[in-house]
Amino acid sequence: MDLLSNLALGLSTAATVTNLTYCFIGVFLGTFIGVLPGVGPLAAVAMLLPVSFYLEPETALVMLAGVYYGAEYGGSIASILLNIPGTPSASVTCIDGYPMAQQGRAGVALFMTAMASFFGALFGVVVMVLLSPKLAEFALLFQPAEYFSVMVLGLIAASIVSASGALRGLMMVCLGILLGTVGVDVNSGETRFTGGIQELRDGVSLVVVAMGLFGVSEVMVSLRGATKSYAGEKVRMRNFLPTPSEWGRSIMPAIRGSAVGSFFGTLPGTGQTVASFVGYALEKRINRRRAEFGKGAIEGVVVPETANNAAAQTAFIPTLTLGIPGSTTMALMLGALMIHGITPGPRLISDHPELFWGLVVSFLFGNLFLLVLNIPLIGIWVRLLRVPHHYLYPTVIVLICVGVYGISNSITDVWATLIFGVIGYVLRLFRFEPAPMLIGFILGPMMEEYFRRAMLLSRGDPMIFVERPGSAFLLGAGLLLLVLTVVPIKKIVQRLKGRLPMGERVARHHK
């Protein structure tokens, strides 16, 4: 009953002409911002923030939130078409989305992306509606030890993302972790590996690394002529529709991706990129068609897209229920409230229920708008591939530079992005993939931070990681995943069933 009255309150707030209009403006801008490599929701929300001085707080929040989750829809478009992620969280979508485009199935990948984004977002919204207060409590149960253990699990999962072999993947993960140590050490306050450069004190920014490794290096690869122009795909609606079997194989991965995404979204500070990486890695572990992953499997597009969109929605839970932003973009969202004299905090929902529920209901409208907006656009995006590369790629480079500069108005960041582009290019020459490096870069420093904080709190006793049940469970899950990766379970099962002649020997061993 309570839920219904809350939703009714939300509907009455969200379904006004003004709020629907601003919701549409938000998601529309968000999609396009997401498409442009380098230019992310942070810059867009920052640009729109002054507008919210003139809007009601609900309206402002609905619009800014629309930009935020709309960008997740758009982020994968360039991943699929050009192998250049529009947002860092769409990096994973490159792995299978781009091969699909090379096979002339860009339309299908884009169509599935839109559907998966919609599904994931809807899943996240439902989770939010049903579980918001409980999930906020859940997030509080997550203490440094649990955060550390979930990062370990994520890192183990991530080391198998690589298509070019576990060893190479692991090497790249380690390189990413090393890169993540640059900056001021949280515990001692000492600077590490900054080379005396002031700008490096806060470490290297995620967008810089992601856009350099994926975006700039891809442009360089294409200059070398390694990527061929597309033979051209027929731009007709029915060519975009997935086959019935592809629909079927996508259902379970979509649910799993959404669940993983919803989980990571509720943990402040982890966010969409971790969600899509871990979702993809877990799927690659348990899916029967894992051999097709990395070669244009539809699941490889569905999972990260459901995960990052679900996470984009549930990320609002800690932000709004506790008043603690999980990311800079979320902090901006809260800034829009502060402009109106609303101090974000734990009483936000009880003091301003129309704001919270209005926003939640606006998510439903916003995602519908996004779906309706994105399906017809597929034709236009696919035509983008026909733009000659000597126009397309310079434009991409310019966009990346503008976007990266816009994050903190720093020319150093632009140079750093170009340097990472060169590094990414050299790595690719030697068949090292950037994806595991990115995940190491994201998870490594967080893992270190939480590990050391947990150790501080336990005064140096490592038993804290196994004594806390949540942490012990997560570490156990990580161990299991590791065992599953190393031990060829399938062969053992087959032997036990006696399908292989070796079965006898296995049986004898057991005596």
Binding site: V186, P268, L322, I339, L456
Partner: protein
């Protein structure tokens, strides 16, 4: 009750102000003006800059553009300001950290926080508070003192980072009170507040305004505030000084420029800012953000920044040992 002498003095001062050469004559600003902010968009300092730049754009007839240059405890923005031409087209929303804390903490900071800048207009301050989790069952500073002395080093406190004002003041608190606490540093105040709420760290030294909703809710017990007088938002909470501890911490906000900006530009900007801050809507916004106002002249503000540097230097050095 106004006597003749003060009246005369006031009149003379007004005349002197009117006669200040160039006050109305300068054509500045003739093109858009940048205001650097040392934080990413969205925080209260950023909002202050945006609110004031709106007002300045309206009253001075040129766009005042907020440019966020976050990084390295605000020193990225301050370095950029130092390198900018002192032509009245680049200013910074200055605050405690890059001018009074970071130069002490990082000896290689490439600027002198006093000599390299003109500190023009004082905006206000945010104060620091010591908050306890209700799980501790403490109500007063004396309770904390007893608890900390019963278990030296057993109680953890969170700060937003090594060398942050919370950390510096917490170390000073331990020095003057004799209580021994255990420091758990965070990367910014967001994660710290999360762990405070979940009870991971039972004490935090943190800015007052952002914790008011938790105080209302009963999930944060304010033990003391770092202002010189009690705060209007927490009238029942004593200051550290009242409790006999010599601790005052003000995270001031102001507007600064590279050294050498023409006097008439500074006067015009100061007048426009003072006028903007006197308006009812700006004051209402400042109140809602917990920014405590106290007017200071440009000269007073310049002296204030110098005085603050002298106060913070030994404290930061002690905390970083």
């Amino acid at each position: 009750m106004m006597n003749r002498r003060t009246m005369l003095a006031a009149t003379a001062a007004t005349l002197a102000a009117l006669a200040t050469p160039g006050f109305a004559e300068t054509a500045w600003p003739e093109r858009p003006v940048r205001i650097l902010v040392s934080f990413p968009p969205g925080g209260s300092s950023d909002l202050v800059a945006r609110l004031l730049s709106e007002k300045l754009s309206a009253s001075l007839g040129q766009q005042f553009v907020v440019e966020n240059k976050p990084g390295a405890a605000g020193t990225v923005a301050a370095s950029a300001l130092q390198q900018a031409a002192p032509d009245g087209y680049t200013f910074m929303l200055s605050n405690l950290t890059p001018f009074n804390v970071a130069p002490v903490r990082f000896p290689d900071t490439p600027y002198d926080p006093i000599a390299d800048f003109d500190h023009i207009t004082y905006i206000g301050t945010v104060n620091l508070g010591l908050f306890a989790s209700p799980k501790l069952g403490l109500k007063t500073l004396a309770d904390l003192d007893a608890a900390a002395k019963a278990d030296p080093g057993g109680l953890e406190y969170g700060s937003s980072g090594v060398g942050s004002w919370g950390h510096v003041i917490a170390e000073q608190f331990q020095n003057v009170s004799g209580a021994e606490l255990f420091h758990v540093p965070y990367k910014g105040s967001g994660p710290m507040r999360l762990d405070f709420r979940s009870g991971v760290v039972p004490l935090i030294f943190d800015a007052v305004p952002q914790n008011l909703p938790s105080v209302e809710e009963g999930t944060a017990i304010p033990l003391a505030v770092s202002s010189t007088e009690r705060l209007a938002s927490l009238p029942d909470v004593p200051t550290f000084t009242e409790a006999g501890l010599d601790i005052v911490a003000e995270n001031w906000l102001g507007v600064s420029a590279p050294a050498g900006v023409p006097a008439e530009i500074k006067a015009k900007l100061d007048a426009a800012l003072t006028e903007a801050m006197a308006s009812a809507d700006v004051q209402a916004q400042f109140d809602s953000w917990g920014l405590v106002r106290a007017p200071k002249s440009s000269a007073e503000f310049e002296a204030y920044v110098t005085d603050q540097l002298a106060r913070w230097t030994p404290l930061v050095q002690a905390a970083m040992e």
